[in-house]
């Protein structure tokens, strides 16, 4: 899933400060799963905004909505009614959401309520980690199924570096050295010979280096 985290409240209060009628818009997709921007988080943020405004002696006017998804044009329709009288929208979808809203509703000011951090998964309840960097040409089969691009601090294709120590990366004792994990796993798979092969430089044109990316599925187009 796309993992994101809430921006600090003060930052958000400053963003929406000039606007009276606010809409807090959540998303039932990834950000619900990573507890950053689902219905529950919409309720909490809206309540925080109302308390902050009441504290300033203002009458708060904050509406709430949580869309099926904020990354599909058809679900944008769910906003049409509720957005009409709003001065500003605070979207707590991943950063795709506020861009969709900005694209659809020309006259509305939109703010991102979250910082979109990475593509990853949960390690345990409340703990999320990065697993993929969307390089556009997956090669994890070369590494025992583990991604050194996203999970090695230096994105080494022929690791480890000299900083690997007791299974941890030199940047922090909290960070696993993925190259240790790769070695351990290849060992268990009986594929240690793979490590004698030198992996050549990666072609990054499938990644961001090739400019903004697009996927077209002719079979699905209407």
């Amino acid at each position: 899933m796309v993992v994101a985290e809430r921006k600090p409240l003060n930052e958000l209060l400053e963003m929406v400060q000039p606007y009276k009628k606010i809409l807090v818009a959540g998303c039932k997709g990834c950000v619900t799963v990573c507890n950053a921007g689902g219905k529950k988080e919409v309720e909490i943020l809206a309540s925080e905004l109302r308390i902050a405004r009441k504290k300033e002696g203002q009458e708060p006017d904050v509406k709430e909505i949580t869309l099926e998804r904020q990354c599909d044009p058809e679900y944008m329709d769910q906003l049409t009614e509720v957005i009409k009288d709003r001065d500003a929208v605070l979207s707590i979808a991943c950063s795709v959401g506020p861009q969709y809203i900005a694209g659809r509703f020309d006259d509305k000011v939109v703010f991102p309520g979250l910082n979109t951090t990475f593509i990853g998964g949960s390690l345990e309840h409340g703990v999320f980690a990065e697993f993929c960097q969307a390089c556009g040409a997956c090669g994890i089969h070369n590494f025992g199924g583990l991604c050194p691009i996203a999970r090695c601090s230096k994105s080494l294709l022929n690791g480890p570096c000299g900083g690997s120590s007791k299974g941890k990366c030199e940047i922090s004792k909290e960070v696993d050295c993925v190259w240790q994990l790769i070695y351990d796993r290849l060992n268990r798979l009986g594929q240690m010979d793979r490590l004698t092969r030198v992996i050549p430089c990666k072609d990054w044109t499938t990644s961001r280096d090739g400019g903004p990316r697009k996927t077209i599925r002719e079979d699905l187009k209407l």
Binding site: P8, K40, E43, K54
Partner: protein, 115 residues
Amino acid sequence: MRLQYPTNIRVIMVPCTGRVDVIHLLNAIEEGADGIYVAGCLEGDCHYISGNLKARKRVGQVKKILTELGLEPERVEMYNLSAAQGPRFAEIAREMTEKIKNLGPSPIGQKAKAA
């Protein structure tokens, strides 16, 4: 056992404090409550294993939010006591009331009343 405790306290019953979520506490603040406390079972004694531990974490989260909002985090508190501790219940009620009285009324409630 007839025990006296301050009449300003409104008791809201829940099946387990694990049911109490961040939004419930925030809504109470929003509506102008001067203080809120969650009274859960003793730690280790939850019938649902960890409801009271979860409640404590959520209270902690609300304390953080109150601080960010420039309100006193002491306005929300977590207490643990067993159903057999009637006198302790009354004592906590007095303790919390005293604490909130010292803090004074919530600015949110004041504004709500004035509006």
